[in-house]
């Protein structure tokens, strides 16, 4: 029989605390850049059919530079916080830079410690705890998948 209490509560709790950091809950509850984007040049909606999370991502590109990112959506704290954090980080970046950030972010979500140390990620680093919950990686990436589908092929040389 199972021994209740076996498997230290401390460890779990700390994983969960890493996952649900204050900054994430803050973005979840007070999302930034949420709502319509005037003059959007790109917009795409993606959902995760299995859980029902939806992100509608809107970009305004100026040349190959991202002038503004907004989103609409519903879903868990991870998917919504990730979308909310995106705007501040991507604003003013070239597509190439944005995709590089996405790449670093993805590596961080898969547990790469170097990626997690990369200051380019800004608030997104708070999502490093997702790496311990592999099924939640898709939540954190939902908004980024929109970005990738919209501009991923504009990456030079691809």
């Amino acid at each position: 029989m199972a021994k209740p209490g076996h498997g230290s509560d401390g460890l779990e709790l700390s994983s969960l605390q890493d996952l649900y950091q204050q900054v994430i809950l803050d973005h979840y509850r007070r999302p930034r850049n949420k709502g319509p984007l005037e003059g959007a040049t790109h917009t795409l909606t993606l959902n995760n059919p299995l859980c029902g999370d939806v992100i509608d991502l809107m970009l305004r590109l100026e040349g190959d530079r991202i002038a503004e990112v907004h989103f609409e959506g519903k879903g868990c704290s991870i998917s919504q916080a990730s979308a909310s954090m995106m705007g501040a980080i991507l604003k003013g970046q070239t597509i190439e830079q944005a995709l590089a950030i996405m790449d670093t972010f993805t590596r961080m979500l898969h547990g790469d410690a170097d990626a997690a140390a990369d200051t380019d990620l800004g608030d997104l680093r708070a999502l490093a705890g997702v790496a311990k919950f592999p099924v939640r990686v898709k939540c954190a990436l939902l908004a980024w998948n929109c970005l990738d589908e919209m501009v991923g092929s504009e990456k030079p040389g691809s």
Binding site: M1, A2, K3, P4, G5, H6, G7, S8, E12, L13, S15, L16, Q17, L19, Y20, L25, Y28, R29, L50, C51, G52, D53, V54, K74, G75, C76, S77, I78, F133, R136, C139
Partner: protein, 421 residues
């Protein structure tokens, strides 16, 4: 492999011996993240007792062969076991004859079978298919596909705020344009038990056939398809202790006999020539190809297991547990339970403060508590309830009050992490 006393005794005495029942389910002994598993995701699928696991195992070790091709001992034995399984299923649901029971992969395939055969043959332009707003996608999308192909219209009976059906709306929508009514016996999100006998009776009076989706009812209640009075009854084995990949469609003989076949292939024919074929008799006409033989045998064993305990006793146990769960959940500040408070089964959807259902599920999982989060293949109902996802805890015959306590305790952790008062 460790193999404890595999089956529950025929006589467990008057008390519901929960410890013995739990001991019949090997998976219930495991830990999840260091905690005893509290499996509360039974509406998605049930766990399996030793006797079912072993029935499958024994089939492969002792009599495995293809069925209905009885030229040798194994094939004879496999065919007997497979057809006996059909009898067990038929008896269990009060079907007049085993030949009216068709083995399918699950409720989804059962409903699709009706849509693609009876539907294709009988639903015409301008006809109406009547569903409800609480249907599972499996009792909704097949009819949308059929309607699209036939030029028919799908209409939906409304649902009250507590999730029960608006019967007046049913009366209003049912008309001589209605060719088919399809309704779930029990809601997989809200636990509501629909008055299927009344629905079937009215459908019959309106000359419509009535399909009941029994996926969430069959595991929990004693069925009698004749008493219900419907024309088709669809259900899945895996939600009622049986293996995955097996389920059954019961249909009225007169209707089944006049339905064109659906899938073509081995077993379902009487004769094949280059110019065409003649379909076999019931039930084989609708069972093309090699069936899930081991699954059917496991299904029969699952039913025998349920019968040994007795569905009335299962029902009583679950009712008590459901009442307890509702009481405890209702006492949590900021937690909202959807669905009615009585005449329901133990499928309990809720939301808790502003914590998203997925976050709840992740947190509970760390405490060994398995619940589901999402739309539960019930998107239109979610829209109707004004939510995009709920957390859902669902009980079965092996669950206990202390597992409900574990659920409520784990909600406390979620509250702490999310800073909910």
């Amino acid at each position: 492999m460790d193999t404890p006393d595999p089956t529950l005794d025929l006589e467990t005495g008057p008390a519901y011996d929960i410890e013995r029942i739990r001991a019949d389910f090997p998976i219930l002994g495991r830990l999840v993240h260091g905690h005893p598993l509290a499996y509360l995701d039974n509406a998605a699928t049930s766990q399996k007792p030793y006797s079912v696991i072993q029935a499958v195992d024994a089939y492969y070790r002792e009599i495995n062969a293809n069925v209905h091709r009885g030229a040798h001992e194994l094939s004879i034995r496999a065919t007997e076991a497979y057809e006996e399984a059909r009898e067990v299923v038929a008896d269990h649901i009060g079907a007049p004859s085993a030949s009216e029971v068709i083995f399918v992969r699950g409720a989804t395939e059962a409903i699709n079978l009706v849509a693609w055969t009876w539907g294709a043959a009988h639903v015409a332009e301008g006809d109406e298919i009547l569903l409800t707003k609480m249907e599972h996608h499996s009792n909704l999308v097949p009819w949308q596909i059929l309607a699209g192909r036939a030029g028919a219209t799908v209409r939906y009976v409304d649902v009250e705020a507590d999730g029960t059906l608006v019967m007046d709306d049913y009366d209003r929508l049912l008309s001589d344009r209605t060719c088919l009514v399809a309704v779930t016996h029990v809601s997989n999100t809200l636990g509501v038990v629909n008055p299927v006998a009344e629905i079937a009776q009215k459908a019959r009076e309106a000359d419509a056939i009535c399909v009941v989706d029994g996926a969430q009812a069959a595991p929990h209640m004693q069925l009698d398809v004749q008493a219900i009075g419907c024309d088709f009854y669809a259900f899945s084995g895996h939600k009622m202790l049986a293996p995955t990949g097996i389920g059954a469609l019961w249909g009225r003989r007169e209707i089944l006999e006049h339905m064109p076949p659906w899938q073509g292939g081995g077993e379902m024919i009487s004769e094949v020539r280059l110019e065409g074929f003649t379909a076999a008799q019931l039930p084989h006409k609708f069972e093309a190809g090699t069936p899930n033989i081991a699954g059917a045998i496991g299904f029969a064993e699952a039913i025998r297991y349920l019968q040994r305990i007795g569905l009335e006793r299962v029902h009583a146990w679950e009712s008590d547990l459901t009442a307890y769960a509702l009481e405890r959940l209702d006492a949590v500040d900021g937690l909202e339970v959807f669905g009615p408070r009585k005449d329901r089964v133990g499928v309990i959807s809720f939301r808790y403060a502003d914590i998203h259902a997925h976050d709840l599920a992740t947190i509970l999982d760390q405490k060994g508590v398995a619940i589901r989060a999402g739309h539960h293949c019930n998107q239109p109902l979610m829209t109707h309830l004004g939510v995009d996802a709920t957390a859902r805890a669902s009980v079965y015959l092996y669950n206990t009050r202390s597992e409900i306590d574990a659920l409520v305790d784990a909600l406390g952790l979620a509250a702490k992490l999310f800073g909910v008062a």
